[in-house]
């Protein structure tokens, strides 16, 4: 078996036993990247030499007798909206195509303490806006299961790189489903933690009240371990939660007997593919067999989640993205005669169409005279959605739904139809609005060989329940990976 087929925890075991060196791991992954990256396009920045020199450094660190932590020497790809000091951080935008971050994000600092092996900066939808990774200034990412299909988005690069064995794990960001939906479409595990569980410091903001960094991995155990490594209070992020980080790995492979699972009927809508529905139902039956109690539940206000999201997220984005003006860093139109002209041309040329669309929607929603009808109203409905979840979690330990209504779709299929594209996130968006944790993991493969994902949602800071159920699904539900590459 090749090294690249091993999970992070398996590699960790081998490193600890001194059976392999980090350099050997690096060599295996670099070779794999050389083979498939032309097809996948999962990376924006990738530098062989840098990976090898880092690997050697880590080997020396280990040889010097330092502690080996969970991610010492483990290859991790970082979504290109997470700041990495001295390395380009582009957000897949022309606006930042040459921007070199001046500091490390908190999650990078935390992983550096492990001496992780940064394998590269992963492709994404521009500024994390999209569900197909087609909105990248660095080209589309292709789904390793079917190269004609999208990998999902916005963490298309992080998901595809993990699925294609170009890295052991990756970090993505999730604002409305951007970790879970691509994880689902690529047949891997993607976890969005509770809002505030992981520091956002150094994550280039899309929608500040919704963004959260999380792991994309090939198994639930790696997901738990990576979450443990990056979670925790950060004084640089006022919205981070100041509670201890539990030992997430300890919640795996536990008895789920008597656990109560709610199925929100508002997430089992007609837009969900039959195949997806039956795979999810199949997983639910397995859980019942394992002793869990499964019931349908209604969260009536979820119906409005998509509309609420597409007011709140663009509103925050319109303000967050106003700093990209060509004055201090990033792309600048140099032919302008006045500051106004420079602003206009820089932003007209620097941003792609989806980003512009959302800036315009957001600017409109926050404008005087419209604020009450849009932003304020959306915030009120958001509270109703939060209350729906609160009520449901009085009854249930977790809620389960499909992650995405469909399997991976063809590149170009939805590119000209933003509304259909937005529907891709109908099941994941409510979770961000409520700030609660959720995981997506594979629960089957469609007839045309595309993976199907199931979403497990927990209450605030109840990643433990999410991981318990996910781990049970992982061990009970069998499916076969059959990549095109």
């Amino acid at each position: 078996m090749s090294l690249i087929n091993l999970g992070a925890y398996e590699l960790n075991e081998l490193i600890k036993k001194k059976e392999i060196s980090v350099f050997e791991i690096a060599k295996a992954y670099v070779q794999r990247i050389d083979e498939v990256e032309n097809d996948i396009n999962a990376f924006i920045s990738f530098d062989n030499d840098l990976v090898f020199s880092r690997a050697r450094e880590i080997d020396k660190y280990i040889k010097d007798g330092n502690d080996i932590l969970d991610f010492t020497g483990i290859p991790i790809a970082i979504k290109d909206n997470v700041c990495t000091k001295g390395i380009k951080t582009t957000c897949a935008s022309k606006m930042l195509s040459n921007y070199v971050a001046v500091y490390d994000a908190t999650v990078i600092n935390k992983l550096n303490r492990h001496r992780f092996l940064m394998i590269g900066k992963a492709n994404m939808d521009e500024f994390a806006m999209g569900s197909s990774n087609e909105n990248s200034a660095f080209g589309v990412v292709r789904n390793p299961w079917n190269l004609d299909c999208v990998p999902g988005g916005s963490s298309g690069g992080p998901a595809a790189s993990v699925a294609a064995f170009e890295t052991a794990c990756s970090l993505g960001s999730d604002t409305g489903g951007s970790i879970r939906q691509p994880a689902s479409l690529c047949g891997i595990v993607g976890l969005k933690p509770t809002y505030g569980r992981v520091s956002r410091y150094g994550l280039v903001a899309f929608a500040s009240s919704l963004d959260q960094i999380g792991p994309l991995t090939r198994n639930v155990k790696d997901s738990a371990a990576l979450l443990e490594a990056i979670a925790g209070y950060d004084e640089y992020d006022s919205t981070s939660i100041n509670t201890d980080v539990p030992n997430y790995k300890s919640f795996l492979n536990t008895d789920i007997k008597g656990m109560r699972i709610g199925i929100p009927k508002e997430l089992m809508i007609k837009e969900i593919d039959c195949e997806v529905k039956s795979s999810v139902n199949n997983a639910l039956r397995m859980l019942e067999k394992s002793g869990a109690i499964v019931e349908e539940v209604s969260l009536p206000n979820l119906e409005y989640a998509l509309s609420v999201f597409y007011v709140i997220a663009p509103s925050e984005a319109s303000s967050n993205l106003s700093r990209f003006d060509g004055v201090r860093y990033g792309y600048r139109n140099t032919k302008s005669r006045t500051i106004r002209e420079m602003y206009k041309k820089t932003r007209a040329e620097g941003f792609g169409p989806e980003v512009k669309r959302r800036i315009m929607i957001g600017t409109y929603c926050l404008s005087s005279g419209y604020y009450d009808a849009y932003y304020d109203k959306a915030k009120r409905v958001r509270t109703l959605i939060i209350n729906d979840f609160k009520k449901a979690f009085l009854e249930y330990d977790v809620l389960i739904s499909p992650t995405s209504p469909t399997t991976a779709f063809k590149i170009g299929d939805r590119a000209d139809d933003p509304l259909t594209m937005y529907l891709s996130d109908v099941c994941t968006i409510p979770v961000n609005l409520a700030g609660i944790p959720a995981i997506s993991l594979p629960c089957g493969v469609s007839k045309n060989n595309l993976p199907i994902g199931i979403q497990v949602i927990g209450d605030i800071l109840r990643e433990d329940n999410v991981l318990k159920i996910a781990s049970a699904i992982e061990s009970e539900v069998k499916w076969k990976m059959n990549l095109q590459i």
């Binding site: 001046v102 640089y236 925050e316 106003s322 700093r323 404008s367 604020y371």
Partner: protein, 490 residues
């Protein structure tokens, strides 16, 4: 001119409201750990946060909130339960994020007031809000004039970006440019007493925007207002407002209409000029900053802050009157200028003679510094040395006349009075034996004056005393001299 203004005043009423920005002198910036600086090498006091780098996040400076609460309490405001921050969105190159983190509908303090002492009356100016925000960077326009309109290009220094700023907004309760000036003096004095800002006018640490309109006294309806931006001196504030009031009245009298505008005061021409019309007003698209959670302001925190508020000028004035025995005028003069009152109290710490300290500060000292255009603290005389001088007078080591000489020497050189007196041999002669000898000489040499005195012209004695003083180069104790002469001639 004076009369004309009085006439106009009879017919029209001036309505003024002020928005004052005060830079807090906290150690670090409002939302990051950068130190505050003034006059440092451009862009050296910056970090990813105050430069608005992608991914950076703000964290509230608690000390700044504490100072804001302190100010709000001193201005008699109610304190809000939560400090909530909003984003004020607009594009300008001195603003790193193209939004300013500010407060909107939940400022730290609301519904306060300041009593402004106008001498013959007190004007109560209501304060609608005290809020916290971050300052912008500084644009420098490179070109022959330094003005933006004629600049070849502009450069920007972000050292100031993120400095904690307090905005204090009044109701339109101010009725004249003079009251506006007095309001700002009073406010500045309170802020200096609270020790929350250096309130330096030159460095722009305190600056006001003034909204002004005029209306017929008989009318209830307010006139259309104009706003004068960025007035960073008491004089500019007063002059700018006087110009605007005259301009409004002229327009109204000639049957025209005042247009709502934002204007700029130019001290060279002593006029105001249009900056922008109302139609160009920004839509700031305020919304709560999702990067910041509301900061709870609990009762016990407020109480703790209350305990740190020092004696405010109004209380000082009362104490000077009631306990130090200063006159109304003197108390007001000494209390209502922070620099004077702090200097005054330091003098008293070294020698407890309030009346004398007050007289020196208001008399000779003021005359000297006014002539040189400096302040008490900028002069070479330390409070300790002034106290020393007064002490010497009180203990009769020197007389008043010599004291004036010593004072001048102190002012010019900064030396302490003891040294000056030793150096110049100015110590008062209280030795009666020594004095009698000199007096005998003077009596002998001035028979005319002596006979005049003896014939009942008691004034002649001053001439004789003067002669003794001259002979001793002013060092004789005039009182003793007086007594001895009387004794000798009777």
């Amino acid at each position: 001119m004076e009369n004309e203004f009085a006439d106009i005043k009879n017919e029209y009423e001036t309505v003024i409201g002020l928005e004052t920005h005060v830079e807090l002198s906290t150690e670090t910036k409002m939302f990051c750990g950068c130190k505050l600086s003034f006059g440092a090498q451009p862009n050296t006091y910056t970090c990813p946060i105050c430069l608005g780098h992608p991914g950076s996040l703000p964290v509230i400076n608690k000390k700044a909130i504490e100072n804001a609460i302190k100010i709000a309490l001193a201005l008699n405001c109610n304190i809000c339960e939560n400090a909530v921050f909003h984003r004020k969105n607009y594009f300008y190159p001195d603003m790193p994020k193209n939004y300013q983190i500010s407060q909107f509908d939940m400022p730290v303090g609301i519904n306060g007031y300041i009593d402004v002492d106008m001498g013959s009356y007190v004007r109560k100016v209501r304060v609608t809000r005290v809020h916290v925000e971050e300052d912008t960077g500084k644009l420098i326009h490179i070109g022959s004039t330094g003005r933006i309109s004629e600049a070849d290009y502009s450069i920007v220094d972000f050292n100031r970006a993120g400095t904690p700023l307090i905005e204090i907004v009044t109701m339109p309760d101010i009725k004249s440019p003079d009251e506006a000036k007095q309001y700002m003096i009073t406010l500045r004095n309170i802020l200096l007493t609270l020790d929350v800002s250096d309130c330096s006018m030159e460095e722009g640490s305190i600056r006001s925007d003034a909204n002004v309109s005029v209306k017929l006294i008989s009318s209830d309806k307010l006139g259309t207002r104009t706003e004068i931006k960025n007035l960073n001196s008491f004089r500019f504030l007063q002059r700018g407002l006087e110009y605007e009031v005259d301009r409004h009245i002229d327009i109204i009298k000639s049957g025209g209409k005042v247009i709502q505008q934002t204007r700029h005061y130019d001290n060279k021409t002593q006029t105001t000029m249009v900056l922008r019309e109302k139609e160009e007003a920004h839509d700031y698209r305020y919304f709560p900053d999702p990067d910041l959670v509301p900061m709870k302001i609990k009762e016990d925190w407020i109480n703790k802050i209350k305990d740190t508020i020092p004696e405010l000028p109004s209380a000082k004035e009362k104490r000077y009157k009631d306990f130090l025995g200063l006159s109304d005028y003197d108390s007001s003069f000494m209390a209502n200028d922070f620099e004077i009152s702090s200097y005054f109290e330091e003098v008293l710490k070294h020698h407890d003679n309030a009346k004398a300290a007050c007289n020196w500060i208001m008399g000779d000292f003021s005359a000297f510094i006014n002539k040189d255009g400096i302040t008490l603290r900028q002069s070479k005389i330390t409070p300790e040395n002034l106290a020393g001088l007064i002490k010497m007078i009180d203990s009769k080591e020197i007389n008043g006349k010599i004291a004036k000489l010593v004072f001048e020497e102190m002012y010019n050189t900064g030396k302490n009075p003891t040294d000056i007196i030793l150096e110049k041999g100015l110590k008062q002669i209280n030795d009666t034996e020594k004095l009698e000898k000199i007096i005998d000489e003077v009596i002998l040499k001035n028979p005319d004056a002596v006979s005049q005195y003896k014939s009942g012209k008691s004034k002649a004695i001053s001439y004789l005393v003067g002669q003794v003083m001259a002979k001793t180069h002013g060092k004789a104790n005039p009182q003793i001299v007086n007594e001895i002469i009387i004794k000798k001639l009777s």
